[in-house]
Amino acid sequence: MNDQLKAILEVLIFLSQEPLTVDKMREVLGEIPEDELQAVLQALMAEFSREEHGIQIVRSAGGYLFTTKPEHDQWIKRLLQIEKKARLSVAGLETLSIIAYHQPVTQAEVSAIRSVDSTYSIKSLLQKKLIKIVGRKKAPGNPLVYRTSEKFLEYFGLNSLDDLPREEEIAKILEEEKQTIS
């Protein structure tokens, strides 16, 4: 068996976002006898179908692709769940940045700045405990007022809110944008 070819095919399938077709393999590797290519692909699939592997190579849409084996789904779900807890969506990040810099602030104020209704983002930040409710504003409807939490400081490694980069500091960093090519 041609070990080097096997290793290279493994790499190509690993990095290809869409199922890798035999034509594409040929294009990358140059001419290879059909039967040799097929034999190596079979060997590669056989190798990963062994029980000690959690990932496998499957044929899909006319090509080859790495997927996970279905029997490990429960662990995959747990991993994704844990990753999700540590991450923010773009909307969440926008909302959080406004609360951080404008606190104390109401949902309506955040929505006005983002030009997008932010109820859902605020709810999700509350669940992640990155923000907290600190009371109500003396205004029509007495809306709830939000502030960032202790956990927010922890998440971003800050000692206090005074450590937040100031607007003019960020502006200075960002505005020199197209000046030099480093």
């Binding site: 080097q4 006319g62 994704l80 990753e83 991450r87 990040l93 940045s97 607007e167 502006a171 960002l174």
Partner: protein, 269 residues
């Protein structure tokens, strides 16, 4: 083992040569002095001088000679080169002053300069060691995508840093400012024209910095259309776009194996 190689053609010599040239790129650039300490170290090395015992008169003269020639220094850094020049002259004059006693080692007016040069030299070496690691790592590719999963929406979540937080806020405020000032333009932008424009540009230039392109658009509408066109191109596998993280430049390449007329073809191959 050698026989086993047969199935895999070796890369052409051409590839090898171009890779090597790329690898040497940064060393060539070192001949051009980024900053004053680069120049000083170069002179010290050229004269085979001991860094702990710099003959100030010689080095100062050489340094000033280079400044006059200027063709090898980074002119954006002229002020910084001049600052070190004045420091050299100052040290030289200090050493010429008559002293009551023999100079003690710790009184050596050169000491500050020596310390700086030694520190800088260490950094240069550390840089070159990191460069070697970078070289290896750039050859180790990782997947930036996941295999098809049940709930793909979870992929959009980001890991964010303090800088992202501040930058996001700043960008929202900018956007806000612009919204207030926006002039509504009559120009209609068609997605078709925009697609063609992007593909033509890529055909000519190979790749593009999408954020630059995006911000060079005349109106918000036009910018948005160009962004949707990019999404369309990615969806149809006509271009490769890479963005390591949110807000970083999106680099776009044309896939050489596809042709533009496939744009409106079905996305299921």
């Amino acid at each position: 083992m050698e026989q086993e190689n047969q199935g895999c053609p070796e890369p052409s010599e051409e590839t090898e040569v171009s890779q090597q040239a790329a690898g040497d790129g940064y060393q060539v650039k070192l001949e051009f002095f980024e900053g004053p300490l680069d120049l000083l170290l170069f002179l010290i090395r050229k004269k085979k001088i001991d860094i702990n015992d710099i003959p100030m008169a010689v080095i100062t003269r050489d340094y000033l000679d280079y400044l006059e020639k200027k063709d090898q220094i980074n002119l954006d850094r002229e002020a910084e080169f001049l600052f070190i020049a004045s420091l050299l002259i100052y040290i030289k004059s200090q050493m010429l002053l008559p002293r009551e006693q023999e100079t003690l080692a710790e009184d050596d007016p050169r000491q500050m300069l020596i310390d700086r040069l030694l520190e800088f030299q260490k950094i240069k070496i550390a840089s070159s060691l990191l460069r070697e690691k970078e070289e290896v790592e750039l050859q180790c590719w990782r997947r930036t995508f996941r295999p098809p999963l049940e709930k793909p929406d979870e992929l959009e979540l980001l890991q964010v840093s303090l800088f992202d937080l501040a930058e996001t806020f700043f960008l929202i405020m900018k956007r806000k400012e612009r919204e207030n000032l926006r002039i509504i333009k009559g120009k209609d932008v068609s997605a078709e024209e925009k697609l063609k424009e992007i593909i033509d540009y890529l055909g000519k230039n190979g790749s593009m910095d999408f954020l630059d392109y995006f911000s060079s658009q005349d109106s918000l509408e036009e910018a948005l259309v160009s962004f949707f066109c990019l999404l369309e191109l990615i969806k149809n596998h006509l271009v490769i776009a890479t963005q390591e993280e949110l807000f970083q430049t999106i680099r776009v390449w044309l896939r050489k194996d596809k042709t533009p007329h496939q744009v409106h073809g079905s996305s299921h191959e």
